[in-house]
C-alpha cells in the first residue's frame, strides 16, 4: 500500500490525494517540476499542467538544453550507439565522468574491439579531458589529452582550428598533441564523438558539433550523446509529441508557450510567480533546487526519499517496482523495462490520475 505524509506526519492516502487536489486546483499558477519519471508519468504530468494552466519543467533541464539548444539553433549530427559500434574506426570521447553518466559506454560501443566494417583494423580511441584514472580501461588503448573542465572548451576549439588548418597559440608538446588529434580525426573513415551534456556546457557542445560539421566536409563523422538523468531524453520526446515543446513550457494563457528562462521551475518558485509546486523525482528521489520553502509543495518520490515539508506521496521506481516505458540510452529508442522487483507502490501516472479525479468541477478539463 502506498504511503503518504503531511509535513512528516503520516496521513491516509485518500486524504493525501484530496489534499493534493485542493492545493493544485486552487493555485493560480502551479508548476509541475522534477518530472523525472517514465513516459506514462510524463504524459500524465504534462496533461495535468495543461489542465491547471500551469507550467512543466524537468530537473535536468539545464543539461537537456545543453544539447537541445545546439540542435535547434546550430544543428547536430547524431547516430545510435549501434551504428557507432558497427562503423566507427575513430571515437573521440569528450569530457569527464562519461562512464558515470553511462556505465555501459565501453561495452555498448565495443571500444575494445575493431569496428565491424573496418577490415578488423583496431579502433582508435581518443579522450579529451577524462577524470584522473578514468581513461585506464583494460583491453582498450586510449590516447588522452588531459584538460581541466575550464581548459577543455579552449582545447576543443584548438583541435577544431587545426582540423581547419588555422593557427593556435599553443606551442611545443601541447601543440604537437593537438595536431596529432586533428590528423587522426581527419584520417577517420567513419568517426564518432561521444559526450555528455551533464559534463560539458552548451557552448562546448556547439563547438564539438562544429568540429563534426567541419570533418564531414571530407569524411563521415557523427555523434553519440549521453542523455541526462531522470529519464530526460524520454520526457523531451513526450513533451514534443504532446505540446510541440520540451520542458520549461507553460500553459498560463491557455496554449503552450515555451520559454527556457520564464518557465524555469526554480525561478518560478523562488520569485513567487508559481504559487504551488508538484515535484516528481521517481528515480533518485532528488530534492528540488529552489530555496523558498513557503510555497505549497507536493512531492512524488520513492520510498526513503520522503519530504519533511509539505505533502509527500510515495511512488514506485520506473522499471524497478513497476513496468515502465523509457527512452533507452543503449538503443536510442523507447523500450519497455520490466519491473525487476515489483511492489505495490503506485506509479507517478497512477498517483496523478488519482489526484486529477478529485479536482472540483470548476477546474476545466
Amino acid at each position: 500500500m502506498s504511503k503518504a505524509t503531511l509535513d512528516g506526519a503520516p496521513i491516509a492516502i485518500e486524504d493525501a490525494y484530496q489534499h493534493a487536489a485542493k492545493i493544485l486546483g486552487g493555485a493560480k499558477f502551479p508548476v509541475v517540476a522534477g518530472l523525472a519519471t517514465d513516459a506514462a508519468g510524463a504524459r500524465a504530468a504534462i496533461l495535468l499542467a495543461e489542465r491547471l494552466r500551469g507550467a512543466y519543467d524537468h530537473l535536468a533541464s539545464d543539461q537537456i538544453f545543453n544539447d537541445l539548444d545546439v540542435t535547434r539553433s546550430f544543428g547536430m549530427f547524431i547516430t545510435t550507439p549501434a551504428e557507432a559500434r558497427a562503423r566507427a574506426d575513430v571515437v573521440l570521447l569528450v569530457g569527464p565522468g562519461l562512464t558515470e553518466h553511462w556505465p555501459a559506454l565501453f561495452e555498448r560501443l565495443a571500444l575494445g574491439e575493431p569496428a565491424r566494417f573496418n577490415d578488423a583494423a583496431p579502433r582508435k580511441i581518443l579522450w579529451l579531458g577524462p577524470k584522473r584514472n578514468e581513461a585506464k580501461v583494460e583491453g582498450v588503448e586510449i590516447e588522452t589529452i588531459a584538460a581541466t573542465p575550464q581548459a577543455l572548451p579552449g582545447l576543443l576549439l584548438a583541435i577544431r582550428a587545426r582540423v581547419g588548418g588555422r593557427p593556435i597559440t599553443l606551442n611545443g608538446a601541447a601543440a604537437k598533441k593537438i595536431d596529432a588529434y586533428a590528423a587522426t580525426l581527419k584520417a577517420a573513415r567513419f568517426g564518432a564523438v561521444v559526450w555528455s551534456a551533464s559534463a560539458i556546457d552548451g557552448l562546448t557542445v556547439e563547438a564539438l558539433q562544429g568540429l563534426v560539421t567541419d570533418l564531414n566536409a571530407n569524411t563521415r563523422f557523427t555523434g553519440v550523446p549521453i542523455g541526462a538523468r531522470g529519464g530526460a531524453s524520454g520526457v523531451v520526446q513526450v513533451g514534443g509529441w504532446m505540446t510541440g515543446f520540451p520542458p520549461r513550457t507553460g500553459f498560463g494563457r491557455g496554449y503552450p508557450e515555451h520559454d527556457p528562462w520564464r518557465f524555469d521551475a526554480r525561478r518560478l518558485v523562488d520569485s513567487g510567480e508559481a504559487d504551488a509546486a508538484l515535484w516528481i523525482s521517481a528515480h533518485g528521489g532528488e530534492a528540488p533546487a529552489w530555496t523558498r520553502d513557503d510555497v505549497p509543495l507536493i512531492t512524488l518520490a520513492p520510498a526513503g526519499a520522503g519530504a519533511a515539508r509539505g505533502l509527500y506521496i510515495e511512488v514506485g521506481r520506473p522499471g524497478e517496482t513497476h513496468d515502465a516505458v523509457e527512452l533507452a540510452q543503449e538503443t536510442s529508442s523507447f523500450v519497455l523495462r520490466r519491473a525487476t522487483a515489483p511492489s505495490e507502490a503506485p506509479s507517478v501516472a497512477e498517483v496523478i490520475h488519482a489526484i486529477s479525479a478529485r479536482f472540483s468541477e470548476d477546474v476545466p478539463c
Binding site: 499558477f29 579552449g154 494563457r253
Partner: protein, 269 residues
C-alpha cells in the same frame, strides 16, 4: 501635447506581457479601449486598467511611471519614430524585435533584452540580466541591428549570436561575453569573466580590461587603428568612456580560429 502615461497602481502579482502597449499600437485608441487590453500571462485575468492609471496623450512618446521586473516584452517590435521611457525596472525581452525608435529604462532590465532587435536605440540605466541581445530558443541569430547602452552590469552570455549592431556595457559583464557572435561590435568597459568571444566568427569585442582569451585568439600586435579612431568620434554621444577607449592604441587578438577566425578582441596596450 503631453506624453502618453501609464502610472503603476500596484505591484503586479504575475508576469505581464506589455507587447501590446507600444506607441504605434496605441494610436487612435480611447482610454477605455486601452484599459481593457489584456496583459495577463496566467489564468488570472489582468487588464491594463487593473495595473495602470492611463492618461491618453501623444502616442509618439509613452511614459511608464513605475516599473517592475515582471513587465516583459516592453517595446517589442517598436517602430522608428516612437519613444518609450520607463521610470523603474522592466522584465525579460525588453525591446524584443524592435525595428527602430528609442527606449530608455531608468532602472534594471531582465533577461533577453534587445533580443532579435534590428534597429533603434535602447539605453538601460541600471543592470541588465542574462542573454542581452541573444536569440530566443531555436532562433539562428540574436540582435541584428541598432544600439544598446547598459550603464550597469550585465549577466551571462551578453551579445550571444550577435548578428549586427552595437552593444556598450559600461559596468562588468558576466561569463561568456560575445559567445557565438556572428558579427557586430561589443564594447565592455568593466571586468569580464569566463570565455570571451567563444566561437566568435566576425564580431569585434573591445575590452577595457585584457585577459586570457584561450588558445584560439592569436596576438596580432598593438596598433593605432584608423577605423577605431573614426568609430571613437561616432561614439562620443553614446558613451564617452567607450569613445575614449577606442581612441587609444589597441592590441588586436584575431579569432576565434576554432571557427572562422575573422573576429577580433581589442584591448588597450
Amino acid at each position: 501635447m503631453k506624453p502618453f502615461l501609464f502610472a503603476l497602481r500596484q505591484e503586479p502579482s504575475q508576469r505581464h506581457d506589455l507587447s501590446r502597449l507600444t506607441p504605434d499600437r496605441l494610436v487612435g485608441r480611447t482610454q477605455k479601449e486601452i484599459e481593457a487590453i489584456d496583459i495577463g500571462t496566467t489564468k488570472v485575468d489582468a487588464k491594463v486598467g487593473d495595473l495602470f492609471k492611463v492618461r491618453v496623450g501623444d502616442p509618439q512618446v509613452v511614459h511608464f511611471e513605475g516599473g517592475s521586473e515582471r513587465f516583459d516584452l516592453l517595446g517589442a517590435k517598436l517602430l522608428p519614430g516612437f519613444a518609450i521611457h520607463v521610470e523603474g525596472d522592466v522584465g525579460a525581452r525588453l525591446g524584443r524585435g524592435a525595428q527602430g525608435g528609442t527606449i530608455t529604462i531608468a532602472g534594471d532590465a531582465g533577461a533577453f533584452a534587445a533580443s532579435g532587435m534590428t534597429g533603434g536605440q535602447i539605453d538601460i540605466g541600471g543592470d541588465c540580466g542574462d542573454f542581452l541581445g541573444a536569440p530566443m530558443a531555436g532562433e539562428i541569430f540574436g540582435m541584428a541591428g541598432g544600439r544598446v547602452v547598459v550603464g550597469g552590469n550585465v549577466g551571462q552570455r551578453a551579445g550571444d549570436r550577435l548578428r549586427r549592431g552595437l552593444i556598450i556595457i559600461e559596468g562588468d559583464a558576466g561569463a561568456d561575453l560575445g559567445a557565438r557572435a556572428i558579427a557586430g561590435t561589443i564594447i565592455a568597459l568593466g571586468a569580464t569573466t569566463g570565455r570571451i568571444g567563444y566561437l566568435n566568427k566576425r564580431a569585434s569585442l573591445v575590452l577595457a580590461q585584457g585577459g586570457d582569451f584561450g588558445p584560439t585568439y592569436v596576438d596580432c600586435g598593438a596598433h593605432h587603428f584608423t577605423f577605431a579612431r573614426l568609430f571613437s568620434r561616432a561614439l562620443a554621444e553614446d558613451s564617452r568612456r567607450a569613445s575614449r577607449l577606442l581612441s587609444q592604441k589597441l592590441r588586436r587578438f584575431a579569432g576565434d580560429t576554432g571557427v572562422l577566425g575573422k573576429g577580433e578582441i581589442l584591448t588597450p596596450v
